[in-house]
Amino acid sequence: MIRVVLPAHLRTLARLTGELQLHVDGPVTQRTVLDALEATYPMLRGTIRDHATQQPRAFLRFFACKEDLTHEPPDSPLPDAVANGTEPLRIVGAMAGG
């Protein structure tokens, strides 16, 4: 199972607490994980990727295994530790403050 940690606002929207687990068929990539996430939680469609372009929203980041994977191609394999469930994929809202 793939482990995913969502930002607090999206956990509230999806009525989740803590991290979630997803089953992904085939290669584990950003795209396949997000496809599985949106299929399981349809209220999240459009909130992580733009409906029209399918591009990740500008102020979101994808972290795993202490690396920033945000700008990796969407079809690149995620780290083995994510694919085997050892580490979660963290979807993070970019910092904002003043």
């Binding site: 929207l13 459009g46 979101l60």
Partner: protein, 398 residues
Amino acid sequence: MMRGWGHLLERDQVARPDNTELTKEDEVSGIRVLVGTRKGTFILSSDGMRDRWDISGPHFAGWEIYHVKGSPADPNRLYASQTSAWFGQVIQRSNDGGKTWQPVGNKFSYDGVPGTHQWYDGTQHPWEFKRVWHLEPSLTDPDTVYAGVEDAAMFRSVDGGQTWQELAGLREAKGHLWQPGAGGMGLHTIVLDPSDPSRIFIAISAAGVFRTDDAGKTWRPMNSGLKSQGELPDPEAEVGHCVHRIAMNPARPDVLFMQKHWDVMRSDDAGASWQEISGDLPSDFGFPIEVHAHEPDTVYVIPIKSDSEHFPPDGKLRVYRSRTGGNQWEALTKGLPQRDCYVNVLRDATAVDSLDPCGVYFGTTGGQVYASANAGDTWAPIVRDLPAVLSVEVQTLP
């Protein structure tokens, strides 16, 4: 909570002097004020006396709530536009008057190849969906709701917000000439004509007023008489005016009132022509405009000093009321701060109820929501310290 007799009275009814029990048909169960803020939705509830309020919220805490509005056909059906720079657009729907909510459809896809509009640098720029500014439920069907969006376009849902279809004919009304103002190119006002389901008025910043007479298939600009000296190269251009808000009394749907960027205007022919009615206002700049629920010639505006100083003139928060359909205005000040007040009141942040006397409500960027239960004669804050208020709507509950 103390309850007097006034809360039971529909308009035009008279209090019973012997205090005999009113029938169920006489009852007005209350007032519900729906407040959208920069950090969530708040629901303010009262009985018909409108002097004690329960406050619930924040709902959708941390999200910008551009607008919340209830269905006239089913007051328990509410729609809310929830948006975020991080997570985009969400539409929420409630079937129980705001106690619980469900996210519904948030896919706003422009019809066909969306084309381009004017951009700040004079080039053409592709239409891009950013957010929903305004939701307008149908007058007769709880599942039908219209959405005004940025970049300016009109969408309609007939399944309770699950799916949205663009009324693309609007962008054919010289859309290539529309241009965003500094606040974005949003369709912010939707006025449904209760006498003709096929007629809808909308307003866009900065494009102007448009009207359809065929339920949204075709649209035409309705800006004759508007003058935007200093803002447009042709001050009387057919499109491009920065209309901030239009309002109608449902009993007289051919008469419209407008707060433009500068100028308060009136049309007596369903938008075909406009005349200025700013009269003796201290400033004719402002954002909202509202019409009394029972007096079609009683109009409310909240003057703001200027487009570069978005606060009330002289630090005094004053609602201005005209009982003559414009030109003659009186300042309503009782209960409002008359010194050191530098808040703004945004275009969707005023509303009226349909009790008698008519209740008037507005919210400020300082987080206050003020109410008047006597048509503006006196005011009191319902709540003082909310996040900046983006929108206020009122439901008079059966």
